[in-house]
């Protein structure tokens, strides 16, 4: 059966339209066009860093984006985020929302859900977004370092200024050093170099001579002292004699102490006897007591042994 051209054209158009429609539908489904989208509202004191279309990330995956930013009557920024139905299970009532602004890369809202068993966030709840700001942190850390570098630079500048000043301390010191070396080169002796005056050099010489005289006299004195101390009738022999005498006396004292020791041992032995004596006396007293009791018993003169207050 011959097919007409019209029919062929019609079939082509219909097929093309169907393919176009199907591919569009496929794209729309793939992009989540027909998916149910949930809107949650977050709040922040400052809208700084938030932009529309900013991604919302859970565990490094995009699960939604910022849809709109609003400022309510209290001055609080409301951030509306849209989360498709398939990602709704990551948004929990106790989730934390953090605005993370890394040093490199674009800012994003990070969702942290510790407890995945808790219920899904109610769309009427408005949790607050916390801020983590890498840039500011880095700046805050670098600031004191920069201050120190500035100080060091200032000090270096001051140093170079002082060094380069023709009337400054450093140049004066150099000039003085020069003078001193010139002076030293012109003197006769090391002493003169130090004192820079001939008269004082002389007086130093005289003083040295006097010192020599004094040492000679001191020698004499020491000889005399030696004689006084170590001569046969000097002090030391006498001290020796006294010490020997003392030694003899101490030896005799040793005997006395031995005697005392002996006496104390004898006494302690005697004290042992005392204990026996004491027990003997007790025995005698008890025996007499017994006799008295027996006599009392025989005579029958026993008193009435009732304890009474007088």
């Amino acid at each position: 059966m011959p097919v007409s051209r019209d029919f062929k054209v019609g079939l082509f158009i219909v097929c093309t339209a169907a393919i176009l429609f199907l591919s569009l539908a496929y794209l729309a489904v793939g992009k989540g066009f027909f998916e149910n989208v949930h809107t949650f509202t977050l709040s922040s004191k400052s809208g700084d860093g938030f932009t529309e279309g900013m991604p919302v990330v859970f565990s490094g995956f995009n699960i939604g984006k910022v849809h709109a930013l609003e400022l309510n009557e209290k001055g609080v920024v409301l951030i509306k985020i849209k989360i498709p139905q398939r990602h709704i299970q990551w948004i929990k009532s106790d989730s934390e929302f953090i605005l993370y602004r890394p040093l490199i890369g674009s800012a994003r809202i990070v969702v942290n859900s510790e407890n995945l068993a808790s219920p899904t966030l109610d769309e009427n709840m408005i949790p607050e977004v916390m801020l983590i700001n890498d840039i500011n942190d880095a700046i805050a850390r670098i600031e004191p370092v920069l201050e120190r570098i500035i100080q060091i630079a200032e000090n270096v500048e001051q140093l170079t200024r002082v060094l380069s000043d023709p009337k400054g301390d450093f140049n004066r010191t150099l000039a003085n050093a020069e003078k001193i070396t010139a002076n030293l080169a012109g003197k006769k002796s090391l002493l003169e170099m130090a004192v820079s005056d001939e008269a004082s050099v002389k007086s130093v010489h005289e003083a040295l001579k006097k010192m020599q005289d004094i040492t000679v006299r001191l020698d004499d004195l020491l000889k005399k002292t030696d004689e006084q101390l170590y001569h046969q009738e000097g002090t030391l022999p006498q001290v020796n004699a006294i010490l020997k005498d003392l030694l003899g006396k101490l030896q005799r004292l040793d005997k006395t102490i031995d005697n005392i020791n002996q006496i104390s041992t004898d006494t302690s032995e005697g004290m042992k006897d005392f204990r026996f004596l004491r027990s003997d006396i007790d025995d005698v007293v008890n025996a007499i007591d017994g006799v008295v009791k027996k006599i009392d018993g025989i005579v029958g003169s026993k008193k009435d042994l009732e304890f009474k207050v007088p």
Partner: protein
């Protein structure tokens, strides 16, 4: 001969019957009696060991009531000699094992006449307690003189003299009792009291006489 045999057999029977007193009681009683004698006769060096021994013997019987009686005896002797005493030991015993008659006696010795339970007090002190409550010195002198036991009489004198206004009749009763028995410690205490009594009333001659007598006795 028959009579002699009868007497001996009776004595033997008595001897058999009376030998059941425990040793601690015998010794405790004797030591307490010795303590009394030594205390009153003023042998101060040997007094305390007797009390300690008596206390030790009585304590070995575990009878707190008897121990309290020993302490009360000590306090009574101090009172009879007009001396102060500390009743802390008795108070501890009384706390552990309360005894109304001991308590009454202690109150009496301490001069707490209102707190003294008259029915629990030994009968010989009843009249003195009544007189003390009425502060009637004449009645007291009469009641004290009527007490037979010389030590009890002296204790009654001590209680009156220590806690109530001194009375010369009571002092005289005490002095004559102590002199009769030869109890030096209370005798000297009452003579000294008599001297101060006369001094307070300005009777210097009497006071001097008593003083000289005391000095002579103490010599």
């Amino acid at each position: 001969m028959k009579k002699i045999i009868t007497i001996f057999s009776v004595m033997f029977l008595f001897a058999c019957g009376s030998n059941s007193v425990p040793d601690w009681k015998d010794r405790g009683f004797t030591q307490l009696e010795n303590y009394k004698t030594h205390f009153l006769s003023g042998k101060e060096d040997t007094v305390e060991p007797h009390f300690i021994k008596a206390r030790r013997e009585i304590a070995s019987s575990n009878d707190l009531n008897l121990l309290a009686v020993a302490y009360l005896t000590k306090y009574a002797l101090h009172t009879a000699s007009l001396e102060h005493f500390d009743a802390a030991d008795f108070a501890r015993l009384q706390r552990l094992e309360p005894n109304p008659s001991n308590m009454a006696y202690c109150h009496f010795l301490k001069g707490n006449f209102r707190a003294t339970d008259a029915t629990a007090l030994p009968a010989r002190y009843m009249g003195v307690l009544k007189a003390a409550l009425d502060r009637d010195a004449t009645l007291a002198a009469r009641e004290i003189a009527a007490i037979d036991d010389p030590l009890s009489r002296l204790i009654a004198c001590g209680v009156w003299t220590r806690y109530l206004p001194e009375d010369v009749r009571i002092l005289q009763i005490a002095i004559s009792t102590a002199s009769e028995q030869g109890w030096r410690r209370p005798l000297w205490a009452y003579l000294a009291k008599l001297q101060s009594y006369h001094n307070e009333r300005g009777e210097q001659a009497k006071a001097t006489m008593v003083k000289e007598r005391l000095e002579l006795l103490k010599k």
